[in-house]
Amino acid sequence: MFYREVGQFKTSYAADQAIFPIRQDRIGLALILLVAFVAIPLLGGEFLIASVMIPFLILALAAIGLNILIGYTGLISLGTAAFMGVGAYACYKLSTLFPQVNILVWILTSGFIACAVGVVFGLPSLRIKGFYLAIATLAAQFFLQWCFGRVGWLYNYNPSGAIEVPGHSLFGVAVTGPSATPVTRYYVVLCIVVAMTWIASNLVHGRIGRNWMAVRDMDIAAQLMGIRLLPAKLLAFAVSSFYAGVAGALMVFIWLGAAEPEAFNINLSFLLLFMVIIGGLGSLLGSFFGAALIHILPIIVRAAPNALGLSVGSATVEHLTYVITGALIIFFLIVEPHGLARLWQIGKQKLRAWPFPY
């Protein structure tokens, strides 16, 4: 009743192939973009923008990258954080070597560098698959993280071993460094995330995406149908690492402002994997859901005791966060193994048939 496409006729192939064929979807998307671009910067406080929205968008971007690899191509990777690190360190290195160049150019370029590294570590994926591949990507995770800590050239031989972001401005407005306001940084991240989500959506709905999904469902059958496995798998690794690299560069330049190698440790890889699986494998929307749940849930759990007027030690809260996150992961897997995206689908179906059961 609320979600009926009755009377919306498709009169051309283009309309039939549209990503959002239903008018309500288009209106909904427009509303979400309106809220993201206008309402949040206008009404949101600094905490909401700087500590909730910016990390959420960046993590969602990395989750989209990982989702392309796991959800669309069926290659499990536990090295996403390392590829994010490659993006971050590449961007740092490039922007300190050539500070006069527009920072956005370097953020995107560092994505391509992460992409090249990702392809190298994706090469074994032709021979091995499943959990074996997952463990093989751990080699990337640990090796790259070791490089970030040990190769002095990467962090310009800082005595602290950390990378610190210099201030950069775009069209006269500071976008990185301490002088940038949260709203500016939010807009930069939002624009990049929206653009890259749009690109990803077109990729996965086109020929390339179909190839990936065929490889995911059964790679030998896909090969028999004439899909060349090596290019398909490597392309998935390349695109995925590109997204991770850009997300990593954004994470250091726009969100954190400084980072140590430890910021890209294996726990971040695992968190991204959670996001993808809880959000829904093979769903771009799911990546956003997953990032929202995994990032915002601990914030709520930490804030809950204060809001309820209980005095609980911070260590206890930290432990409880672990317990609750773990329990929720198991709970969501049992309730809906296909993730929040599937729940959303079911909800849409219900809305469509309401008030009848089917």
Partner: protein, 318 residues
């Protein structure tokens, strides 16, 4: 040329020059390898019987050791604490089967894998909540484990073996032998192997999958407890130990996910290779290569033999 010399000649010259150091390094690698093998053994047991890639194995190890030490510190005698820890591992196995495995039966592997991730978080939080986050010391003496070291004067030098390491190697071998006997000669062991072979065929001859899963997780829990005691005796008991469990993953690759002998041989190879690499080749690149050497070794190995040393041959059908 000089770099080639440093890589291919110099380490061997060093080895030949100081054989006592070489023996010491080999021994340390061997002990580390035994412990890796034990963790990998827990992985293999569960993977064989339920097809679950149990990421929580490392945490189960820490959790078991922490329970033991926590109870001991609360004034429970060591032997009782040991029994109670075993009991808690049994309860954990029951709970995992009932709450996690049963509702998720027949789901894709990756879902079960993620569920064990959830379990990992749950156990970390629970363990720290109940026993506190501070590192604890394993009551080595109260558990009847030897302390101190044995020194041998051989090869013109001094080789010192920690007694606890010897005990670890002995206990590990005994446990592996015990498990092998259990698998080969008992009714439950045969049922376990049947389930590992084919779930549905096992069900059709009247083997209860649920029961088998509890038993397997309990066995893995006991292996975890033993491993936890050994690692705990070498360093302190804290959740930092879980990093070690990640080291068991290349061991699994090397040995194959479904092979018990593979886990042991893989563990020894990784343990020894890691120590030798760190000691003789590590200084060339600034040290610390222990953190990734095992993974890169395993990755290189996978390229040539994707199913591992003793894994089942991969047959793909459309």
């Amino acid at each position: 040329m000089h770099i080639l010399y440093l890589i291919f000649v110099d380490p061997f010259v060093q080895m030949a020059g100081a054989p006592d150091l070489l023996v010491q390094t080999l021994w340390e690698g061997l002990v580390g390898g035994v412990l890796y093998a034990l963790i990998a053994l827990g992985f293999v047991l569960i993977f064989k019987a339920s097809g679950v890639f149990n990421f929580a194995q490392g945490i189960m190890m820490v959790f078991a050791a922490l329970t033991l030490v926590g109870l001991y510190e609360k004034g429970v005698p060591a032997w009782l604490a040991l029994i109670l820890a075993i009991g808690i591992m049994y309860l954990l196995a029951l709970a995992v089967e009932r709450v996690v495995l049963r509702p998720l039966v027949n789901q894709p592997d990756i879902m079960l894998f993620m569920a064990t991730f959830g379990l990992t978080y749950l156990l970390i939080g629970l363990g720290e909540f109940v026993f506190g986050g501070n590192p604890k010391e394993m009551p080595v003496a109260a558990l009847g484990l030897p302390k101190g070291s044995l020194d041998f004067k051989i090869l013109g030098g001094l080789v010192s073996l920690q007694k606890i390491d010897i005990a670890a190697a002995v206990i590990a071998s005994a446990m592996v032998a015990g498990l092998a006997l259990f698998f080969q000669h008992t009714r439950i062991g045969r049922a376990l192997r049947a389930v590992a072979d084919d779930h549905q065929a096992a069900l059709s001859v009247g083997i209860s999958l649920n029961q088998i899963w509890v038993i397997v997780w309990f066995t893995a829990g006991i292996v975890a407890l033993a491993t936890g005691i050994m690692w705990g005796a070498r360093s302190d008991v804290s959740f930092a130990l879980q990093v070690i469990s990640l080291k068991a993953l290349p061991v699994l690759i090397l040995g194959g996910f479904t092979s018990v002998p593979g886990a042991i041989v893989g563990g020894l190879i990784i343990g020894i290779g890691e120590k030798l690499g760190e000691f003789y080749w590590g200084p060339l690149v600034g040290g610390g290569i222990e953190s990734w050497l095992a993974y890169v070794l395993a990755l290189a190995f996978l390229l040539f033999k994707p199913e591992g040393l003793f894994g089942e041959k991969i047959i793909e059908r459309i």
